[in-house]
Amino acid sequence: MVLRSSEITIIGGGIVGLSTALGLLQAGLRVTVLNGADGDFRASQGNFGLIWLQGKGADFAPYAAWTREAVARWPEFARALQELSGVDLALQQSGGFEFFTDPDEFTAFAQSLAQQQAHLGPRFSHEMIDGDTLRRLHPEIGPEVVGASFCPLDGHVNPLRLLTALQRAFVTLGGEIRTGAQVVEIAQAQGGGFDLRLKDGTHLGAPRAVLCAGLGSSTLAAQLGFATRVSPQRGELLITEKLGPRLGFLSSTIRQVDEGGLQIGGTKANVGPDDRETLSEINALARHAVTVLPALADVRVVRAWGALRVMTPDGYPVYARSPQHPGAYLVTCHSGVTLASLHASLLADWIEDSAAAPDLEAFDDHRFALSAAA
């Protein structure tokens, strides 16, 4: 069976695959998205929804700049996406805190942000606020908080609605999504293009293919000669019952979703393909929440969950063309929510190699080939 005249096939229908697909579709291509099984690990269905700049790329200027651009493009991206999909993304970009209870960590983070400031110059701004000043602004913040950083550019969206909106917009504009289509093998087809073998045994042809399969990317990436291997990093989150009153602020670890519940998160563990929630992290997250906001003590947690981040070896995105297999691309990253605005715009230019294409050399896959060889 051959796909209905699609010009480019996206493997993976998470936030990264769909935003990339939407950009290509809007650039005028006929695009098909192949998405795996309902039970796959899916970061896009378990994340924290931040559109976050502070701290990003302090040690890697290209990433700082790329993220800055993503944040700048979000308002327009959200407006257009909402219009196309009819889905309210609940975007809010009015700044965010990172809270600290350890003075050493507070100092270290100040240094990171100074570095980020140096990379971005006037395109960035941040403040380090000591605990007492913070409590004058927000008296509800607990006494053990020694300080917070604040970046006025940070924000958040409803990540589940982002996923739904991307799906709807893509389909509305004529894109095709095939669900339950798990690609198990990809090979160069005779006479050009690629032959994709699905788990159910069917074969699909694809003139060009973009691999955006999250944690499912590694095996297929190897088949295309890419060096990148992604690995899972578990993050755990809590969600509380809905609250009527609104939190007066956003932070990297506690945020109020537009439906009213509080999401509390931020743990990191490298435990392989295991997305179970653990008692120790539930406990740690709850302690963090009541330390930052003691008034939350009587608020009930409705559910905890774990989700797996898609991590490249150095944590930065990979945007790569396959040297051996022209027409094959690898697109994978952490922070796919934040970067969605770019994946749906500039990335299409890069894949099409148009005049507007950004220079993404710093994010090429060969950085891992080199380190593997060294």
């Binding site: 509800e140 609250l243 009527g244 009153p245 008034a295």
Partner: protein
């Protein structure tokens, strides 16, 4: 709308416990859950959902979360899982719960507590 209890009046069984529901007196018998006492007193909704629809205790065994009320200032308490006690102050909830001590936030708050 108000409707009397959807249950038959109970025969006298000695001492009653006295509580208030939205300020009005309400009685219970020893051993009643709060949900039983409320259902015995009135057939009305004991809560309105975040979307404004009327609800009252449903499963009576702690699984549906439709019986949530405010008990002595504690919102979202499962009325079917808590025994009535003398002097309890009960309040029906409208929409999402409030946050008692977070009053200083710049609130578009519809908190009722």
């Amino acid at each position: 709308m108000t409707i009397d209890s959807r249950f038959l009046p109970r025969p006298d069984a000695g001492a009653l416990l006295h509580m208030t529901l939205d300020g009005a007196p309400i009685t219970a018998r020893a051993g009643d859950t709060l949900a039983a006492a409320i259902l015995a007193a009135s057939g009305d909704a004991s809560r309105h959902s975040t979307m404004g629809t009327p609800r009252t205790a449903y499963c009576m065994m702690g699984v549906c979360f439709d019986c949530l009320i405010e008990v002595d200032g504690q919102p979202n308490t499962q009325a079917c899982m808590v025994a009535a006690r003398d002097g309890m102050v009960l309040a029906r909830q409208n929409g999402a719960r409030g946050l008692r001590k977070l009053s200083s936030t710049p609130a578009q708050s519809n908190a009722d507590g």
